[in-house]
Amino acid sequence: MRGGDGAFRLPSAKATCTLLGAGLLLWIAFAYGVFPWLLERSYRGEGLSILTAAMGNRDQTSVDRYLDRWAELADAGVFTLIGAIVFAAIWARRGLNLDRHWFTPGRLSDLALARIACVGFQLFLLVFPSFPGCSGCSLDYQLALTGAEASEYGPLLSLKALLAPFGWGTRPDMAFLETIKIIGIASGTLALLGLLGRWSVLGLAWAATTLVAHSYSYGEYHHAEGLLLITLWALGLSPSHRARTLLGWLRARGGRGETLGGATDAFATWPLRLTQWLFAASYFDAGASKLLTSGVAWFQPTTLAYYFARDGIERGFPVGVWLSEHTALLSLAAIAAVGLELAFFLAVLMPRLAPAFVVAMTGLHASIYVAQAAPFPQHIVLLWVAFLPALRRYGATLPWRGTERSTIERTLAAEAPG
């Protein structure tokens, strides 16, 4: 959409509501009318050949099973769109502005700090693969996987795409994986120093994503690495390389110009905002799936006792085993965890709450590691990075920095999202 000045602007929250409403009507017509009809025809071999091929087990599965499964997906789509409409309506009522939310000028120095933290941590994981949280970073593990039978290798879509120049669906050998890791470490070092612009960040993102995707192409995946890798890609595509660089520092030191540290850019906000929303969506999913799968039964103390005992014994973490034997506070812990997960999106919409949520979720991830040895170090680093602007603004309002308060309050008013 174009504004009066000819610039492209994202639709208003009201227009988004209308678009989502139209999308809902289209989805209902497609999901409950067109697709079931197509599915039945394809089941008989008369419809789309791609659909017929997708129903490989037609001999053993009745058409009703396929229709029931589709009906579940159709319902899930309807509920999601209704949820999005409600969300957009609240957004519209509060007068929030989508364009300003994503493209308000942000500080390049914040984005550059995010680059240094994310690149630095991913580089650390590649150089020290025994640190928990990135099994794909370990060449020993990759070596074991390359010895697996060909029938066990099921390359992820992302791996196929990243290795497409070498052949769609190709299986990398050990020498290739070692080369990718070397590329990752070299690109990461350059990206840390802000050299080679966006290409060094993208090089690290490509190498790390490829390594982890390969390790997840053998029938098992985990959740720790995904968000950091997506953020690395976003940082590579943003102007994160335009501040806090080695060359800029040298120039500033020699008095030959100044760095862009204090400058702002309309494209400096979206990468961290995207990470915030991905956090909100994934936490909400984690909380909602517990309620949808188990209801309030999830809060009985034996649920957490089971998980703490199983993971603690299996991974040799005594705190988890001890907790599984002392259930008095486990229901409260379960309620607090689900509550935080479901409410986390408030940290995005109300930046004043962000510091509290960041500290609480850091504590939650740390507790989960101590009790269950489930490592999410990337999430801990990323929480502080994604909410860096809100944390910086909050830090400046602390009592011992009172002299800066009035300035900060003005900044807060000017930078408030939406």
Binding site: G6, A7, F8, L10, L73, A76, G77, T80, W102, F103, Y141, A144, L145, T146, G147, A148, E149, S151, L156, S158, T209, V212, A213, S215, Y216, Y218, E220, Y221, H223, G226, L227, L229, A234, F267, W270, L274, W277, L278, A281, S282, Y283, D285, A286, S289, T293, S294, A297, W298, Q300, T302, T303, A305, Y306, Y307, A309, I313, E314, S324, E325, T327
Partner: protein, 151 residues
């Protein structure tokens, strides 16, 4: 140029968020990784729930040999997938990698055969129970679930 860039970024943001929400709603597991659902740990467990820890051993014909522990790395199989194979072998089930009767045990025997001159595969189990007040005992007895020949 700036408009093109803004449209491209807006499109990218929309795709990323749609992928994240889509994987969650349609439970696509790792299909669109690194966008994944976060449904882990969502099952509830009441009093009386049990879980088992398995240990696979490869044993030679020497009478006093207690054998060696076989890990997932020995078998070139990711950790949790390996544990699922052990559980399937304990119950005499087939496995997706070997969908014939007792396929999981046959698969493990084939893996052990590659490690050296072993004669027998042993599967040991410790079973733990969660009571109304949590874990009943951390010293669950170790029992031999089954033993079968490598060949």
């Amino acid at each position: 140029m700036r408009n093109v860039r803004k449209i491209a970024v807006s499109g990218g943001i929309t795709i990323a968020i749609a992928l994240q929400i889509g994987t969650q709603v349609f439970e696509t597991d790792a299909t669109f990784w690194p966008f994944t659902p976060y449904h882990m740990y969502s099952d509830a467990f009441g009093p009386g729930s049990t879980f088992a820890m398995y240990e696979l051993r490869a044993v030679t014909a020497t009478p006093e040999d207690s054998g060696r522990v076989v890990t997932n790395l020995d078998a070139s199989i990711p950790r949790y997938r390996f544990e699922r194979i052990l559980a399937a072998a304990a119950d005499g089930q087939e496995h997706i990698l070997n969908p014939e009767p007792d396929g999981a045990a046959r698969l493990l025997a084939a893996n052990v055969a590659e490690l050296g001159p072993y004669e027998t595969v042993e599967l040991w189990e410790r079973r733990y129970e969660i009571g109304p007040k949590g874990l009943v005992t951390r010293d669950a007895p170790r029992t031999l679930v089954r033993a079968w020949p490598v060949q």
